[in-house]
Structures are given as C-alpha cells and as structure tokens.
C-alpha cells in the first residue's frame, strides 16, 4: 500500500485531495493530509471586511467540512520535512513516511521583517488586511475614522494576490465618498513596482484609475523601516512619507517548516518546475499554490488552475509516465474597483493582461481590462463558487492554459 502525503489543507491542498480521493485506487494508495488549523478562511473576502461589506462569519468555515471522508486527516504542526528519507516528522514526534508528497503550505505575512512595523502601533494605526485579525482591527479603526492621510504600502514583491492592494485603494476611495468624508481623506499608494502593476498595459490602465480616483501613486519606493513614533515610513534611501494610518502589505513568506527543512529560498518558497509543478530537487515531491517559488501570481484562483495540471501529473507520476508541462502561469483576477464595478484581467507567464471578452471569446459575459458592473458581480459571486465548487475540486469553465481567443492586441 503506497502513501500520498499532502501537507497543508488550505485552498490548494483541499482541492487536491478532493480531486484525487475519488480516482485513486484505494487498494494501492492511501491519502493523508496534515494541517495545523481547524478553520478555513476565504482569504479574498478579507478585502471586504474593513468596509463592513463582509463580516467574520462570511469568510470562515470548518476545514473538515471540505475534506473527503475517505482520507486520513491529522491536525498537527510539522516539525521537519526530511525529503532524502521520504518522511515528515510531526511536532509530537510522530513520523509519516510517504511515497509521494504534495506540499501546499502556502504563504503568510511577516511584518517583523520590517523594522518598526510590528511594534506598539501594530493594529493601532498600522494595519494589514491579509489576516482576519488585521482586517477586523482595520474595520474597527475605519468605522470611527474622521479623516486624515492613509498610506497603502507594499513592502516587497512577491505578495499574495498582487491586485489586492489596488482593490483596497479603490474601495477606500468609494467608502470615504459614501461616508461623505472623501474631501478629508488623502490616499497615497506607495509601491516598490515601477507603476501601479507589473505589466505595462495593465499598469497604465490601473495607474489611470488611481489618478481618476485622486489617489496619489508613488512608485519605485522600497520601504526600509517604519518610524512608528513619528508616523512615517522611510525608504532605504531615506525618503520619508507621513501617514495617519498605514495599511501595509508586509513581506510575504513561505511556511517556517520549509525553512526548518532547508527546502526553500530566502523567502521560504520552494524551487518548483514552472510547468510541471514538480519539485526541482525531489522527483516524488510536487508543490502547489503559494508555497512555490514560481513567478505566477500567488492566489487561490491560480492554485485552482495549477490543480488541474497537478491532478494529471500526480497520476502520471504514480503510473511512471512522463509529466505534462501543463502550467503556463495562467492567472485570472477580478479587481474590485469601487462603486459596484470591477475589472477583470487574464494573463500568463508570457502574455500580459490584454483587453477582450471572457470566458467566451467575443461574448463574455465578463470584459477584460475594462471596468463593468458585470465584473463586480463576478467578483461577488466568486465567494459562492469558492465554497461550493472550487474547494470541492469541481470543474469550472476556465481552462488551466490561457487562451488568446477573445483578446485584442493593442
């Protein structure tokens, strides 16, 4: 009897066990999933909490509701992965041997990486919105805020969901307008990227949006420290920017267990083949989702597209067949732009976001790189899709590989 071990029961790990459990021969393979937390968070929903659009109950469900019944689930932290020995040690000393392993340990924010960030002002006037605690604390702050200067700052790339900070900026413009205090709120968007986004056409398009919404863009800015006593961020080159409230996207890093196991890069992300999702160092290990070192976006929607590829490659590996180079970096993101509208972008490793219609070429109903109400509804519907289809490993009408059909080169 062979053993497939899955580390991490977040979006990616949950999808994989749901896809694999029904198809693997139970006389040949048993599946064990290890995770340390009981609660599954719908992370895209954190963006909506500070504005009171979602509350905590809207974004949490028990993880166990989403695991198939015929796999073993172990609730535990992992002490260390020993890939040379094909085994994993849990914190209680228990050893799990495996024949094949999927690592889906994700990424998380690490505010302590930046001097002065996680000090006494943390969650007082310095907030993240990438954790439930941060999003809730920010909600309580914004609810009673009467205005001042809000700085939204990305510490360094890569980050989970690279469009989320822009969405946060757009929603803050909308929210303070609705509250009737937009004239009392100054918003500055401070990023290490050369513009609003990474790719030229989308960067220009989204940069124009910031301008239209009277949000100041400060690009090419790398934060060195937070001067929390004087409410300033200071760059490595001593350029200071004042704030009354700082919304930070701290350094994102892979799981500590990856560092403890010596398997990651300097941010604890695991070297992964960009097309097959196999570990670059161990052929019986596959990586999916935010845990990889791939230059694709770190997001559940991307993990979903990877899952289709990995589902096939795991079975190929089990059957001793060559792997398919199926993943092309495809990402598909709804960008909430405020006032009940949204933008959609679709891109991969090689092709930047382009205008067009999606998913049906020429038809839609969604419009790429264009602001529409339908795109907003796509975004809001996604929560239902996530809980009811995506996590359960169901097929969605989005192909793993990006298509040029319906897209226009400018």
């Amino acid at each position: 009897m062979k053993h497939l071990l899955v580390l991490g029961g977040g979006t990616a790990g949950t999808m994989m066990v749901n896809k694999l459990a029904p198809v693997l021969d139970k006389n040949e393979w048993r599946i064990t999933l290890v995770d340390e937390y009981e609660t599954h968070y719908y992370q895209p929903g954190f963006l909506f909490i500070p504005w009171g659009i979602y509350n905590k109950q809207d974004v949490i469900k028990p993880k166990r509701d989403f695991y198939p019944s015929d796999i073993d689930v172990i609730m535990s932290t992992i002490e260390v992965i020993e890939p040379e020995q094909n085994r994993v040690k849990l914190s209680d000393g228990k050893i799990l041997n495996y024949d094949m392993m999927i690592i889906a340990t994700g990424s998380k924010i690490n505010p302590a990486e930046t001097e002065g960030m996680k000090e006494e002002k943390w969650h007082k006037n310095i907030f993240d919105f990438y954790t439930i605690e941060g999003a809730m604390a920010l909600r309580n702050f914004i609810k009673y805020w009467e205005g001042g200067k809000m700085v939204i700052n990305i510490t360094e790339m890569p980050i989970k969901c690279p469009v989320a900070p822009l969405e946060f900026a757009f929603l803050s413009d909308w929210y303070f307008t609705e509250q009737g205090i937009r004239d009392k709120v100054e918003i500055e968007y401070v990023t290490p990227l050369p513009g609003a986004f990474t790719k030229p056409i989308a960067s220009r398009f989204l940069g124009d949006f910031l301008e239209k919404k009277n949000i100041k863009l400060t690009a090419d800015y790398s934060i060195g420290r937070v001067d929390h006593e004087n409410n300033k961020i200071v760059s490595w080159e001593e350029q200071a920017i004042d704030y009354d409230v700082l919304v930070t996207i701290p350094t994102n890093m892979g799981s500590d267990v990856i560092a403890r196991s010596g398997m990651g890069d300097d941010l604890n992300f695991i070297p992964t083949d960009p097309n097959t999702l196999q570990s670059k160092n161990f052929e019986n290990i596959f990586i999916i989702g935010d845990a990889t070192d791939l230059p694709s976006s770190k997001a559940g929607s991307v993990a979903h597209l990877q899952a289709d590829v990995l589902f096939e490659n795991i079975q190929r590996a089990m059957d001793g067949r060559p792997l398919k180079k199926g993943f092309d970096g495809h990402a598909n993101c709804f960008i909430e732009s405020g006032f009940g509208k949204g933008i959609l972008i679709d891109f991969n490793y090689k092709v930047e976001p382009l205008p067009g219609k999606f998913p049906l070429p020429g038809v839609g109903p969604f419009s790429l790189l264009e602001e529409t109400r339908m795109n907003h509804w796509g975004k809001m519907t996604f929560r239902w899709v996530y809980w009811n289809l995506l996590l359960k490993g169901a097929e969605l009408p989005i192909e793993a590989q990006m298509t040029m059909a319906g897209k226009k080169r400018q």
């Binding site: 360094e156 790339m157 890569p158 690279p162 990227l193 990474t198 790719k199 090419d220 790398s222 060195g224 490595w236 080159e237 890069d265 300097d266 941010l267 230059p295 694709s296 976006s297 970096g329 990402a331 891109f347």
Partner: protein, 105 residues
C-alpha cells in the same frame, strides 16, 4: 537583440543593455556597464557585491535577490542602496553581467 562593444569586446545585449550571456562578461566590462546605470566608479564594496552575485549565480543558476545578498552574502540592504541607488538588484545585476532580475506578477 543588439550588439554592443564593451571594454573592447563585442557582445549581445538586451534592449535594456543587460548582457544576454553571463559568460561573455569580463571584469573589465563592469565599470562600463555600471556607468550606464549612473555609477561613475566601482569601489571595493561594489566589487564585493558583483563578486558575490556572480558566484551565487554560478552556484544557484538564479540572480540573487537583495534579501539573498543580505542573508547569504552578508551585505546589508542599506549598503546596497548606497552602492547602487534606486534599484540595487537591477543595477548590480547589470554591472555583474547577469540578466535583468525578473519581477513577480
């Protein structure tokens, strides 16, 4: 791809002026490459960065990030910004004859 003569040697460069083949690089090219990024003179510390980057690239096959230069190279980030202002990863990579570091999306 364009061709450019740097320190007497004709090599292939990208449209941003990065060497296409890191193996084409010679020590003599570094000062000229650095000049294109506004760095007039290379001192001992600049060389420490360039040497580390080349060695690490050779070992790992990847252009080291700023964090890697701090962790594995022992070069403080602040120092990197002093040596190669406004984008040390990119500027130092160019002087070291490596490609343009790939940003993430």
């Amino acid at each position: 791809m364009a061709e450019l003569t740097i320190a007497g040697k004709t090599v292939e460069v990208t449209e941003d002026g990065f060497l296409v083949n890191p193996d084409d690089w010679t020590k003599e090219m570094a000062p000229e490459l650095a000049k294109t990024e506004g760095i007039e003179e290379l001192n001992e510390m600049h060389w420490k960065v360039i040497d580390f980057m080349r060695a690490d690239y050779k070992e790992k096959g990847q252009i080291p990030t700023i964090r890697r230069m701090k962790n594995a190279g022992g070069i403080p980030i602040k120092e990197l910004y002093n040596l190669f202002p406004q984008g040390p990863a990119k500027k130092a990579a160019k002087a070291a004859g490596l490609g343009k570091p790939q940003g993430c999306i």
